[in-house]
Symmetry: C2
Subunit: 209 residues, 2 copies
């Protein structure tokens, strides 16, 4: 299995399967067919089989997937059985919002450091975290074993922050700045477009009658 070849969209769907299977395990459902899992996640059975097929042969022909085993396998594949330390750069409105956003922790993501370049923001506490100057980033990242970086700076500073994170040893970046970032292939960058969250609403408006 080569993770480089597996598309982001497949990974996102694995998280959806895992959430559904975890709910099923809670109510003591022990097996599920690809068709049922597809129904519950609004995907075709072929899609479910194809996605899971990237990672091994989980199903038993005729009886479907063993729920508990599949939960365990997916948690391992997805790194959900670990807690990751995260650094955030840019403590403007969006960065501050993310720092005080609940839910990261329950997803195994622990924001342990925040950085800024503004003297007005450095030294301030947001939640439990004291904002540090950007110069300290390399030291912090190795000292605190940080493996994920979040970029919440304006578009014009995003590339230089990205370079700094990579220089400091970060290989996974979540980018909220509305700009495409350049990095070598071994670096994983995920761009978040908040406006995509809202665009699907327009469908319901035109079809509400």
């Amino acid at each position: 299995m080569n993770s480089k070849k597996i598309p982001q969209a497949v990974i996102s769907r694995l998280f959806i399967y895992l959430r559904e299977l975890t709910e099923l395990a809670k109510v003591k459902i022990t097996t599920i067919s690809s068709a049922e899992l597809g129904d519950r996640t609004n995907l075709s059975d072929a899609q479910v089989r194809k996605d899971l097929g990237y990672f091994g042969n989980f199903g038993v022909s005729g009886s479907g997937y063993a729920v508990n085993e599949l939960v365990e396998a997916l948690e391992k594949i997805l790194g959900k059985n670990k807690v990751w330390n995260v650094a955030l750069v840019g403590t403007g409105h969006l960065g501050s919002a993310l720092l005080s956003y609940p839910g990261f922790k329950s997803h195994g993501l622990n924001i342990v450091s925040a950085f800024d370049i503004s003297p007005k923001r450095i030294g301030k506490a947001i939640g439990d975290i004291k904002v540090k100057p950007l110069e300290d980033i390399k030291k912090e990242i190795s000292g605190k074993k940080i493996e994920i970086g979040i970029i919440t700076v304006p578009a014009k500073s995003a590339q230089s922050v990205c370079d700094k994170l990579i220089e400091s040893g970060i290989e996974c970046i979540l980018n909220f700045a509305p700009v495409a970032l350049n990095a070598t292939e071994n670096i994983k960058i995920r761009d978040v477009d908040l406006s995509r969250e809202i665009e699907t609403l327009s469908y319901f408006l035109v079809n509400k009658k």
Copy 2:
């Protein structure tokens, strides 16, 4: 076609198809098969056909989909050929971040009003928008023909804001508060969990070797 029966996940994928098809139309590609469209969007051809099948019979057997026609049809289905007026309630960090976030407009979403209950925030301008007191919401929503509401208040106030938006005539709500909201069936509420955006990164960390 009954829009109530079409799952949110299908709608989200239609937006993905539309983005891909729009890119193809730009480079003068005129037809595409479901398999190719699936490849480009990391979905199986069966999934593409099933999703589009909810809305009609777009493909021509043997030759695939006509790109321009499908773009036009999807834009209409998804309400992308219109601009929607949006109101935002809660101008803390997250609300302020969304108000100054570029990209909503290019998705046909025009945030025209913002509301708060804090006297410190009322009257302030964020970008072009002056924050108004929550009491004015009904008047603003009918006066400005607002059809979508965004909730960015703390969890404990989210339900009362939701009720107020509905009372004022809003039928589509995007909820960033980390709490489930109650509303009658005709109201469309979409919950956004920002931590889901980051969780897929853990996969790349465990599989980066």
